[in-house]
């Protein structure tokens, strides 16, 4: 077990290293951030001074080496735009993104599993068909367009909820929640459809298997067959997908945050890409990549808890 975790961590470091090198090199090629940063009327001398101050006059390999050395001592470089440590800027925005991702996940799991279970158990009923039609719609609706529609309907037309921003109140108070509601619903829609479809497919496949027939033949009550035997077995793929989707929710928050002007990491990284704020982009990627790998690891470890048949030795990377 510990050998497995250690090997995974070593792999994590390798992935982080490769990502940082690729992105660092790639962004180096894109353009000169100084052109964007200095005031357009600045003369050559001032531009050179800025270039030197940011350390951009050195060869790219040396810049990367300085970055790597800094990273190992916890310094991820200074944001060109904010003039503050890049990691500090990102960590500041992280709670807002996590808030949104968490709320979206709660919405999609709490609605998705019951709806999918129902659609799977009574696949030919009208309600099940309606649920499935709804889910394929949710699957097909482009997230950003739904966001615009939500703003149009609930903020502009009805005026029930604020269209953009975050507010200052915490999430558990209505004044805070009302800001988070539209973006969270927007972010949840795709995951909700995914969870409904996955749950239904699993229920339909599993309920044909022998162990379910056997459990029913034993005369177990329906609630126990579904609640214990079935649910336990469909949980395995569901946990995987939910876990992995948590990562993708954080990534997709980029879009939602841009539309709703939600002050999270996603909006920060989009702005940083346009402003060629390399340290922030690289630091954001390192943070998210690390988060994904951590999530994947936790999901793999959860496997063994949920399904003793899976041995970690069998799970390759």
């Amino acid at each position: 077990m510990s050998v497995y975790v250690l090997r995974r961590l070593a792999q994590t470091l390798a992935v982080l290293f490769v990502t940082s090198a690729l992105v660092f090199g790639g962004l180096y090629l894109v353009g000169d951030p100084v052109e964007i940063l200095v005031n357009p009327n600045a003369d050559q001398l001032e531009k050179e001074r800025t270039t030197k101050a940011l350390g951009l006059d050195r060869p790219v390999l040396e810049q990367y080496w300085i970055f790597l050395r800094g990273t190992l001592s916890g310094d991820f470089g200074t944001s060109f735009v904010f003039g503050r440590p890049a990691m500090e800027v990102i960590l500041e925005r992280m709670p807002a993104t996590l808030e949104l991702a968490f709320l979206a996940m709660v919405i999609s799991v709490c609605l998705g599993i019951p709806l999918g279970l129902y659609a799977g158990l009574k696949p030919h009923g009208f309600a099940a068909k309606a649920i499935m039609a709804g889910s394929i719609l949710g699957f097909s609706l482009p997230t950003f367009w739904v966001g615009l529609l939500l703003i149009m309907v609930f903020a502009v037309q009805l005026g029930w909820l604020p269209s953009t921003g975050r507010g200052t109140a915490p999430l558990w108070e209505w004044d805070g929640l009302k800001y988070a509601l539209l973006p969270a619903i927007n972010l949840a829609l795709f995951k909700l459809s995914l969870i409904i479809r996955l749950t239904r497919a699993q229920v339909r496949e599993q309920s044909l298997l022998d162990y379910i027939r056997f459990a029913r033949a034993k005369g177990l009550p329906r609630s126990r067959v579904i609640g214990v035997h079935l649910l336990k077995n469909i949980m395995i793929p569901l946990v995987t997908v939910i876990g992995l989707e948590l990562g993708s929710v954080i990534a997709f928050a980029i879009v939602t945050e841009t539309i709703f002007a939600w002050p999270g990491m996603g909006k920060l990284v989009i702005d940083s890409i346009f402003q060629l704020d390399r340290p922030v982009v690289v630091a954001y990627l390192l943070v998210t990549v690390f988060m994904f790998i951590l999530i994947n690891l936790v999901v793999d470890l959860l496997y063994t808890v949920l399904d003793p048949r899976v041995r970690l030795a069998d799970v390759r990377g």
Binding site: G26, S140, T143, L148, L208
Partner: protein, 302 residues
């Protein structure tokens, strides 16, 4: 020898017929197919059926800007779906946008399918370290959300149709590679493969003529889903300002252009391209859904 002869016999036409009748047994799938066919037709025929060439800046009239759907303009023209900020006819812009979106989605899908299937089948056949390496890369890449990978690639590559196709291929090949490998592993153990090997056929022929046709169904299912994803992803990236240049407006870019007018109640500039995008993705998903049900033997037996 009899197994070999059975292989060489012309196959009866029933499988394809059966596939067709099973596919069109569902009304929703038939509707989806009809919708998809019209979307493709519109995209292909856009230059012929669009009322205006939206790329021809000389034909745009700024006086006609931001007209509501159906409103008469000063020059006496009526725009069915209104006009955008530059006086461009939305209906024509949507037709051309569908063309761009569909082209990007299908092109990236076909390239990714070819590349991914090749790598996946190779991995299954060569095995050993090569297979391990490929699958490790696939696993790692699929661990990251597509949008993040595409975003980074485009931040580096810049704007353009070719660039967004490259980014989408890089994102998608892994799905095909994984599917192709697992299909190849299943098919490899079957008798017809043994027969083909027993005949002493060259490896490339076994792979191309015997293995690939049989590994196709799962790849087709993944393919339809992925093309829908690619179209949505391209629209999203263009909306964020990272995909296509403004000279070739895809549906995502049209929606982005209407964003600023949305809050002042000029809904149509964003709304109608969005509906077009939705219909496009929906029709592909409906067809893909039915394909999966028809081609999945596990459900067919139930």
């Amino acid at each position: 020898m009899s197994a070999v002869e059975a292989l060489e016999l012309p196959r009866p036409e029933t499988p394809f017929r059966r596939f067709l009748s099973e596919f069109f047994a569902s009304k929703i799938a038939t509707l989806g197919f009809a919708l998809l066919a019209s979307v493709v037709a519109i995209a292909l025929l856009a230059p012929l059926i669009a009322p205006q060439n939206p790329y021809d800046l000389a034909r745009l009239d700024l006086l006609d800007a931001r007209l509501a759907p159906g409103e008469d303009s000063l020059s006496g023209k009526t725009y069915v779906l209104g006009t955008d900020g530059q006086g461009r006819d939305m209906l024509s812009a949507i037709f051309y946008g569908m063309r761009v979106s569909l082209y990007v989605g299908v092109a990236s899908g076909v390239i990714a399918l070819t590349l991914g299937a090749l790598v996946g089948v190779l991995a299954a056949f060569v095995g050993g370290r090569f297979e391990q390496l490929v699958m490790r890369v696939v696993d790692i890449q699929l661990g990251f959300p597509a949008i993040l990978v595409a975003l980074i690639l485009l931040a580096v590559l810049g704007k353009g149709v070719d660039k967004i196709i490259i980014a989408l291929v890089c994102v998608q090949w892994a799905y095909y590679a994984r599917t192709a490998r697992s299909a190849a592993l299943v098919e490899r153990g079957k008798e017809y493969m043994e027969a083909a090997r027993g005949l002493g056929l060259p490896a490339w022929r076994i792979v191309l003529r015997h293995l690939l046709p049989n590994a196709m169904p799962p790849l087709i299912v993944v393919g339809t889903v992925q093309v829908a994803h690619a179209i949505a992803l391209e629209a999203t990236l263009s909306f964020l300002g990272l995909g296509l240049p403004p000279t070739e407006p895809s549906l995502g870019l049209l929606i982005a252009n209407g964003y600023e007018y949305l809050l002042s109640g000029k809904y149509w500039i964003s709304m109608y391209p969005g509906i077009a995008l939705l219909l496009m993705i929906l029709s592909i998903n409906l067809v893909g859904d039915q394909l999966r049900d028809v081609l999945n033997p596990r459900l067919a037996r139930a």
